[in-house]
């Protein structure tokens, strides 16, 4: 019987600390074919995890493997791995074409020029490929970096905040490209601190908070965890007191308060609140002017996931 194929990216109890500061703490996960989003607030440890996976940081403890091979001090992995770093810097004096072709040559591809043209076309940079990278916008630099990372047709692609600086059209184009690559059986791991970017692209989500893996799985499950958590709203209506009295009878509403004259409502979940608030307003004959979530920041969602 043949051995099962090793995961594209594998972390086993991986930790990384700098002196007394723990950046990543005992993180374990497998990444297989498809698109996996690494979601977390800034400073959560996403880049540290990606750098460990890409062989650019030694894990202080635990193991990090790419397609079954150790990532650290093993340049062989780059034959099958493409990396798009977050930092914007590229060789400003090289044209986009030269930059991608250089990557192709360094990978010893048989026809570097043709490989470069293919990769440039994938990211839609044909028109600007003859210009020096130093003249590119942030989004263009991002795309040429992606072309350089794709030039050797890697099985695994690691991208650190790949949509930074891309305009909405470029973003959709890149998302289509990643989906297509995933459909061809490649494993793509990318980081983002923007929930929507992960939700729209990733099949699987890894949520990182304060250096730990807070949640992982299908994005719909993660999304459900995020929406089913307690939510708080500030409500403005034609008669806040009448509305408050009616809301007290709603089982989905767990708390009512007046703070600085504003009605604060706590609900057990987002969907429950979305149903209860308009229903209560209608029954009380009150007009709702504004319903504003008070703790919808990504950090509050993350901190909820961590507390669970």
């Amino acid at each position: 019987m043949s051995e099962p194929a090793p995961p594209a990216i594998e972390l086993r109890g991986a930790s990384r600390w700098y002196g007394n500061v723990v950046a990543v703490n005992d993180v374990s996960f497998d990444v297989g074919p498809g698109v996996t989003g690494l979601l977390g607030p800034n400073g959560a440890g996403k880049s540290t995890i990606l750098h460990m996976a890409a062989g650019f940081l030694r894990p202080s403890a635990g193991e990090v493997r790419i397609l079954g091979e150790p990532a650290w001090r093993n340049p062989r992995i780059y034959r099958r791995l493409g990396l798009v770093p977050e930092r914007e810097a590229v060789y400003g004096f090289l044209t986009g074409r030269e930059f991608v072709e250089l990557a192709a040559r360094l990978h010893r591809l048989p026809d570097p020029a043709a490989a470069a043209e293919r990769a440039i076309a994938l990211v839609g940079m044909e028109a600007a490929a003859s210009r020096p990278c130093g003249t590119y916008s942030k989004g263009m630099k991002q795309r040429i970096k992606i072309a350089a990372a794709l030039v050797h047709d890697p099985q695994v692609l690691i991208l650190d905040e790949p949509f930074n600086g891309a305009d909405p059209r470029q973003r959709l184009h890149l998302m289509d490209l990643f989906r297509q690559m995933a459909a061809e059986g490649r494993a793509i791991l990318y980081s983002s601190h923007i929930l929507e970017e992960v939700e729209r692209l990733a099949d699987t989500v890894l949520v990182i908070v304060a250096g730990r893996l807070a949640a992982s799985g299908d994005y719909r499950q993660i999304r459900a965890l995020m929406t089913d958590r307690p939510h708080a709203f500030t409500v403005r209506s034609s008669d806040d007191r009448a509305l408050a009295a009616r809301l007290l009878a709603e089982p989905a509403i767990s708390g009512i308060a007046f703070e600085d004259g504003r009605l604060e409502v706590r609900a057990s979940g987002l969907l429950a609140a979305a149903r209860a608030l308009p229903a209560a307003a209608r029954e009380a004959g009150v007009t709702l002017y504004e319903v504003r979530p008070t703790d919808e920041s990504l950090e509050s969602v993350f901190s909820y996931l961590v507390r669970r």
Binding site: R16, Y18, A23, N42, G43, G45, K46, S47, T48, H51, A54, G55, F56, L57, R58, R73, P75, R76, Y78, R79, L81, G82, L83, P85, E86, R87, A89, V90, Y91, F93, L94, F99, L102, A103, R105, L106, H107, R108, A148, A149
Partner: protein
């Protein structure tokens, strides 16, 4: 050595503003030589001036290490600092080949500006006299820049303050401390260069007296350069991205 890395490094150096500064610095001996030629007193000794003050003095003690330091840190330090090094390192190219290519370009660039300038300056001062002095210093500069380039390549990978560390080595260690402690000559690249230069000519000790004999100077130069390149390769093999987030 990887030719693509070498080409990239050469273009990096050519595109830097500091390269213009280096070329101007390297032309300084020619200017000094011309001044000497036209303004020196009638009883001046050209051999003494060339061996002691110009080629054995300002060129070997200041211009040689500065030019090599600027080229070596320009070849490696900058892309480690701005993160572009990742594009070279995230490839299957062995790190040893990357180090050797960058070192070779830094050395070649240093040779290209140092040797012609020193030879021209020597010829202007000596006017065809002083057999062996120009050849000797050309050889000394070639060997010296080889060892300096290796040492500063290692420094560029090992520390983000390679320029400062290099200046401290050149001016504090070699410039000041070596005058106080004679043992330092064994760990002074400047003394290797001067010792090797001394193999090519014979001047009275009052005019020119290297602190190392040619043979030990050559052996030490080869050993130190080899060690520095080995350290540079090992350091790059363990190089980590210097940021967390």
């Amino acid at each position: 050595m990887n030719p693509d890395v070498a080409r990239l490094t050469a273009r990096t150096l050519l595109g830097q503003r500091r390269t213009i500064l280096v070329v101007l610095l390297a032309l300084l001996p020619v200017g000094i030589a011309l001044l000497y030629r036209f303004a020196a007193p009638a009883d001046a000794d050209p051999e003494r001036f060339a061996a002691r003050a110009l080629l054995g003095g300002i060129v070997t003690s200041t211009i040689l290490p500065l030019v090599t330091l600027i080229f070596a840190t320009g070849a490696f330090g900058q892309d480690i600092e701005d993160g572009t090094a990742v594009y070279l390192l995230a490839t299957p190219v062995p790190r040893r080949d990357i180090v050797l290519a960058r070192f070779a370009v830094a050395w070649a660039a240093s040779l290209a500006v140092l040797v012609p300038s020193a030879v021209l300056a020597g010829v202007i001062v000596l006017g065809g006299g002083g057999p062996g002095i120009v050849t000797g210093f050309a050889a000394g500069l070639a060997a010296g820049s080889f060892v300096y380039a290796a040492a500063f390549t290692w420094l560029s990978i090992a520390t983000s303050r390679a320029l400062v560390a290099g200046l401290l080595y050149v001016f504090l260690w070699e410039g000041t401390l070596s005058g106080l402690f004679s043992g330092i000559r064994f760990l002074s690249i400047r003394q290797y260069a001067t010792g090797i230069a001394g193999a090519f000519f014979d001047l009275p000790a009052s005019v020119f007296q290297p602190r190392l004999e040619p043979a030990p100077a050559a052996v030490l130069a080869a050993l130190v350069a080899g060690l520095m390149l080995l350290l540079a390769v090992r350091r790059l093999q363990r190089w980590e991205v210097g940021e967390a987030g």
